[in-house]
Amino acid sequence: MSEASPAKAYALHLGVIALLFVLSFVLPEYYHGLLARIMVLAVFAMGYNMLFGYVGLLSLGHAMFFGAGLYGAGLAIIQLGWGVPLAFLGGIASGAVLALVIGLLALRATGVAFMIVTMMFAQVFYLLILYFAAWTGGDQGQVVPQPARALNLGATSLDLTNPTVRYMSALVLFSLVLLLTLAVVRSRYGRVLVAIRENEERTKMLGYDTFSNKLIAVVVSGTICAASGAAYALLFGYVGSSFASVQYSILPLLWVLLGGAATTLGPLIGTVFMYYVIDVSSGYTSAYLLIVGIALILLVLFFPKGILGSIRQRWLGWLP
């Protein structure tokens, strides 16, 4: 990572946000909706990247945090009748609390054990959703009723089911998280995380408390993923257990690997690319898991740095 030009990095990120804003007016209806969904899921990938890319902790349980946000927000509306802003905060809070508890436990394990522990906690979370089907809707999931998905701001009311409102809400969340990630990874704290990834023993020797630094990273990462889940529930109106399954933990790993781990814009590029590949290929074949599988193997074999990671390595060393 080069120190050269914070201005250049911020200009690039603001440029991307501006581009997404302009796209909202030119895209055809179908891609408009798709891009809104991609932006919400890219937030999920950015949260995952915070832990996997920058700290080097491979978690196989992040669907749990996405699910915590999804159910935290969704059930707050369906079962408790909360309003949109409160439900959104509730979803984020449940993700943050869950991440703190899971982090305290799972960080006692290292390496392969960490992956298996996170996967198992996520599996327990998934089974809990099925077990309490009376409240969560179990397998079937639940639809967040349309009238409840309106944001009342004084006199005006924003209907989150309206495509334009939905796109702009997704863009606001995406932009906030993108700029937050950029600020975090450029900060002193971000450097400590990278130092832990590169050599934890040495970082410890330099006097850093690596456990609490990692714990903070788990909580930040889990909270971002929960924000993505909460936004998904509110913007797309569906809360279902498949979003908490093991498979949904693997998807952000795929997106991040594809776009480039430890790059701020990699998660967006990976998510866009994978959605596009699946969208195109599903025109020819229904075997989309096959493509995901082959992509994973080819990536890890020949392209371990991902799209943006390779670009940074070869041409643009200043990319954050």
């Binding site: 491979l58 196989l60 436990l105 799972a106 006692r108 394990a109 390496g111 392969v112 054990a113 992956m115 298996i116 522990v117 198992m120 906690f121 599996q123 327990v124 089974l127 809990l128 099925l130 077990y131 093991v246 693997i250 790993l253 690997l257 075997a287 989309y288 898991l289 096959l290 995901v292 599988g293 082959i294 992509a295 994973l296 193997i297 990536l299 890890v300 074999l301 371990p304």
Partner: protein, 293 residues
């Protein structure tokens, strides 16, 4: 039925689960122990074994025992060959890097699952048991085939134990597990050992699947539960410890059988998964394991 017979039935069902689980988990444990590779695709090798067993028995026809015996021999061989190819093409090129191999085996999981769905279909299909003899217990008759699964699994486990402890192949495997670099220096072809161990692990899963398929049907998603349960068994039993694997499999199988009989299966899975996660958090070397290197 009263409590006593109920408990006996639950225990018997649990033992059948344990027997199959011990074989499946042993495959995972060998691969994990010798190669340090977490094979996430292990459950798919199990599923392939069951699906191939259906294909072979329905192709052969005649007396069910004929097809079953053929499946018991041919299905593991095919699965072993597939695993060997996957190991050569992918895992070896990754230098057995733990994290990269996890991602790669996740990829294999998806590919195998999708191919099974495309060529075999989404239906669950039955395989006829080779014989249907009922053994009369004091309270109820119990399937003789299920009891023979337990016996077959015990025989296979003893055979594996003999191979590991009494033969030259076992010695080479243990040497590779203990210190692969020194083993290489002593002229042991570590690459070929790794290939063989990966294929052997997949074959054990396939054998377990062929044994279970007459009582549980073949389905393209059937690999998920054995994978998770095998993880649990391997972790509780401790890495590479055959004794630990068997004890843990019996423990998990019995408790799963009994809890599922008296409470809900989802609750049983939840409790088992949570307990194991806690074991891993507080005792990373497993309950019976030797300390991690």
């Amino acid at each position: 039925m009263h409590f006593g017979p109920h408990l006996l039935l639950a225990a018997l069902e649990g033992l059948v689960t344990s027997a199959v689980l011990a074989l499946t988990a042993l495959g995972l444990s060998l691969v994990f122990g010798v190669m340090r590779v977490v094979n996430v695709a292990h459950g798919e090798f199990f599923m392939l074994g069951a699906v191939l067993a259906w294909a072979i028995t329905s192709a052969i026809g005649g007396h069910p025992a004929l097809g079953f015996l053929a499946a018991l021999v041919i299905a593991p061989l095919i699965v072993g060959a597939i695993a060997l190819v996957a190991e050569r093409l992918v895992l070896r090129r990754l230098n057995y890097n733990p994290e990269a191999t996890i991602v790669a085996t996740i990829g294999m999981l998806y590919i195998i699952q999708q191919l099974a769905l495309s060529f075999y279909g989404p239906e669950a299909r039955p395989v006829e048991p080779p014989f249907s003899y009922r053994i009369l217990l004091p309270w109820f008759g119990y399937s003789g085939y299920k009891l023979s699964i337990i016996a077959a699994s015990a025989l296979l486990l003893i055979a594996t134990w003999l191979v590991l402890t009494r033969t030259r192949i076992g010695l080479i495997m243990r040497a590779t597990q203990y210190d692969s670099e020194t083993a290489q220096a002593f002229g042991i072809p570590v690459d070929r050992v790794y290939g063989g161990v990966f294929a052997l692990g997949a074959m054990l899963a396939a054998i377990a699947a062929v044994l279970i398929v007459p009582i549980s049907q073949a389905h393209y998603l059937m690999g998920q539960d054995p994978l998770l349960l095998s993880f649990i068994v391997v972790i509780i039993g401790g890495l590479g410890s055959l004794r630990g694997t068997v004890v843990a499999a019996v423990l998990i199988g019995l408790s799963d059988g009994i809890i599922s009989m008296f409470f809900s299966p989802t609750l049983a899975k939840m409790i088992a998964t949570l307990l194991v996660a806690m074991v891993l958090v507080f005792r990373p070397q497993g309950l019976f394991g030797t300390a991690a290197r």
